[in-house]
C-alpha cells in the first residue's frame, strides 16, 4: 500500500466519522459506558486483591500456652518452634504483658480492667510471624499438636474468604463485561453498516474500477477502531478522575482502609479498556462489512 492510499484511507475514515456524527456519538458513548463498567469491576478487584495482600502481611498467629505449664517448658517450645520451617519470627509474652496490652487497648472498659486486676484469667503465649501467609494453617495445626498449647488463633479465615470473594468478583465482572461487550459490538456493527450503506454507491464504483477488498474495508475498519479507542479513552478519563477523588475522600474518611495505589489501578484499567475497545471496534467492523463487500 503506497502513501497515496494511506492518505486516501485516513481521509475517508475522517469523512465517515464526521458525516455520521450522531451515530459516532452513540457508538462512542456505548463503548465508554461498557468500558466504564469494566473499569468499575477492575477497580474493585484490584482493591480486593490489594486488601487481601495487606491483610495477609499483617497476619500474626497467636499461640496460647496452658496455665499449668512451667516457664522452662515454654522456653523449650519457643526455641524449637523458632527452628520450624515457615516461622519468620516468634515472640514470647507473659499473661501479665497480655493483660497490660489489653488495658492499653481498651482503657474505658472498667469491668474488664477490674476483672483482670483481681485475677488475671489470660494465658502466656507466642506471637508467631510466618514467612508466607499460606503456611499459617499448617503451622497452626503443628502448634495445636503440642501438649503445652492451649489454643491457636489466626486471621487466616478472613484472608481466605477475601481471596474467594475477589475471585467471585472477578468472574461476575467478566460476565457483565461480556454482555456489555456484545451490546457494544451490535451498536458499532450498526454504525459501520450505516456508514457502508450511506456510501454504497462509492463502494460499488470502487469495486467496479478494481479497488481491492482491503482498500475498501480499511476506512470502515479504522472507523470501528477509532470508535472503540475513543470510547475507551473517555471511560479511562472518568475512572482516572473518579478514582483520584475516591482516594482523597478515603484518606479523610477511612484513614485505616488500605486503598490500592492510583498507578496500579490505572495501569490495569488502561490495559484492559484500550485493548477491549480496539478488539470490540475491530471485530464489529469486520462483522459489519462481511455481508456488504462480497465482490
Amino acid at each position: 500500500m503506497n502513501l497515496n492510499s494511506v492518505w486516501y484511507i485516513a481521509k475517508e475514515t475522517g469523512r465517515n466519522l464526521v458525516y455520521n456524527v450522531w451515530m459516532t456519538l452513540a457508538s462512542v458513548s456505548t463503548v465508554a459506558i461498557s468500558m466504564f463498567v469494566l473499569s468499575f469491576f477492575l477497580v474493585l478487584t484490584v482493591n480486593m486483591t490489594h486488601l487481601t495482600t495487606v491483610l495477609q502481611n499483617q497476619v500474626e498467629m497467636r499461640v496460647f500456652i496452658n496455665a499449668n505449664v512451667p516457664r522452662h517448658s515454654e522456653m523449650t517450645l519457643l526455641k524449637q518452634a523458632d527452628q520450624w520451617p515457615g516461622v519468620r519470627k516468634i515472640q514470647f509474652f507473659t499473661k501479665q504483658q497480655a493483660a497490660d496490652s489489653l488495658k492499653k487497648e481498651f482503657p474505658d472498659q472498667r469491668d474488664l480492667l477490674t476483672l483482670i486486676s483481681k485475677s488475671n484469667p489470660l494465658f502466656d503465649g507466642f506471637d508467631v510471624y510466618t514467612k508466607n501467609p499460606n503456611e499459617i494453617p499448617a503451622l497452626a495445626v503443628r502448634f495445636q499438636h503440642e501438649k503445652a498449647v492451649h489454643n491457636v488463633v489466626y486471621e487466616g479465615q478472613v484472608v481466605s474468604r477475601l481471596s474467594r470473594l475477589s475471585v467471585i468478583m472477578k468472574w461476575v465482572g467478566w460476565a457483565v463485561e461480556l454482555l456489555l461487550g456484545l451490546a457494544t459490538l451490535f451498536i458499532i456493527v450498526n454504525t459501520i453498516r450505516l456508514a457502508v450503506f450511506a456510501r454504497r454507491r462509492e463502494v460499488a464504483v470502487m469495486k467496479l474500477v478494481g479497488a481491492t477488498d482491503w482498500f475498501i474495508r480499511w476506512p470502515f475498519v479504522l472507523e470501528g477502531l477509532v470508535l472503540g479507542i475513543v470510547g475507551a479513552g473517555v471511560a479511562d478519563l472518568v475512572v482516572s478522575q473518579g478514582y483520584h477523588w475516591l482516594i482523597m475522600a478515603a484518606t479523610g474518611a477511612l484513614p485505616f482502609w488500605p486503598m490500592a495505589p492510583y498507578a496500579q489501578v490505572m495501569a490495569k484499567t488502561l490495559d484492559f479498556t484500550l485493548i477491549g475497545g480496539l478488539v470490540v471496534g475491530g471485530v464489529a467492523s469486520i462483522v459489519a462489512l462481511r455481508r456488504f463487500l462480497k465482490v
Binding site: 492510499s5 462509492e202 464504483v205 474500477v209 478494481g210 479497488a211 481491492t212 482498500f215 465482490v295
Partner: protein
C-alpha cells in the same frame, strides 16, 4: 481476447438468463449486443465484468479464467475493464473532476498522475470546462460522458457498456456513440448492449443478437434487426 465457452446462467428461481453461449471477441473490436428486453444481454454483460458467474461453461478474458479467480484477482481483472452503465452511477456529492479522479485514487494512483491524466480524459469526452460542476448541474448526456471518462481513466483494454444511451435523446445518444467509436479507434475494445436501432444500423459494426438467452445471430457488419 474475450472468449465465452458454453456459458449458461440459471438464476435461483429456475429462470435461465443465458443458455449455452459461445462467443469470441477480439481486441480492438466494436461489438453491439442487441435483443429484446429480458433476452439476456445484461446477464451476459454482468458476467463479463464478473458481477455474476456462469452456472456452467467458462469465460476467458486475456489471461483470466473468470470462474477460477480468487478475490484478489477480481480487482486485477477489473483494472483491465472500464464499465459504463445506463444510470451512470456518479457520486452526487463530488465534482466531475473528483468523480473521474476517484477511479484512480481507489486503485492507488499517484497524486501527480491523477492531476495529469484526469484533464486529458475530460478533454477527450469534451467536459474540460465542466470539471468543477456537480453531477446535478449537468445534462443527461454530459453525465454519461463523465461515466465514460471514469471508465477510461485507468486505460482499460476493454470497455463494457450496458445501454449507455438508454436514457438519452437520439441526438445526444449519437454523440455518445461517436465518443465510444473514437475510443475504439484509439485501441480499446468496446462491447455495448443497446436498444438503439438507429445507431446500430448506421454504425455497421459487429452485431450479436440474443433471444431467450441464446445467441441467434452474429454478423460482422450487422444491423439491429428488430423493432425496438
Amino acid at each position: 481476447m474475450i472468449r465465452l465457452e458454453n456459458v449458461s446462467k440459471r438464476y435461483g428461481n429456475g429462470h435461465y438468463g443465458v443458455i449455452d453461449v459461445n462467443l469470441e471477441i477480439h481486441r480492438g473490436e466494436f461489438l453491439f449486443l442487441v435483443g429484446p428486453s429480458g433476452a439476456g444481454k445484461s446477464s451476459l454483460i454482468r458476467m463479463l465484468y464478473r458481477e455474476e458467474l456462469p452456472t456452467s461453461g467458462e469465460i476467458y478474458l486475456d489471461e483470466f479464467r473468470l470462474s477460477q479467480l480468487r478475490r484478489t484477482q477480481v480487482s486485477r481483472l477489473r483494472r483491465q475493464l472500464g464499465v459504463v452503465f445506463q444510470d451512470v452511477k456518479l457520486l452526487t456529492n463530488r465534482t466531475v473532476f473528483q468523480n473521474v479522479a476517484f477511479a484512480m485514487e481507489v486503485v492507488g494512483a499517484k497524486g501527480h498522475d491523477i492531476q495529469k491524466r484526469v484533464p486529458q480524459v475530460l478533454e477527450l469526452v469534451g467536459l474540460a470546462r465542466r470539471r468543477n460542476n456537480l453531477p446535478h448541474q449537468l445534462s443527461g448526456g454530459e453525465q454519461q460522458r463523465v461515466g465514460i471518462a471514469r471508465a477510461l481513466v485507468n486505460n482499460p483494454v476493454y470497455v463494457i457498456a450496458d445501454e449507455p444511451t438508454g436514457n438519452l435523446d437520439p441526438e445526444t445518444a449519437f454523440d455518445i456513440i461517436k465518443l465510444l467509436n473514437e475510443i475504439n479507434r484509439r485501441g480499446a475494445t468496446i462491447v455495448m448492449a443497446t436498444h438503439a436501432k438507429e445507431i446500430v444500423n448506421q454504425m455497421h459494426k459487429r452485431v450479436v443478437a440474443v433471444e431467450n438467452g441464446r445467441v441467434v445471430r452474429d454478423e460482422a457488419r450487422g444491423a439491429y434487426g428488430y423493432e425496438p
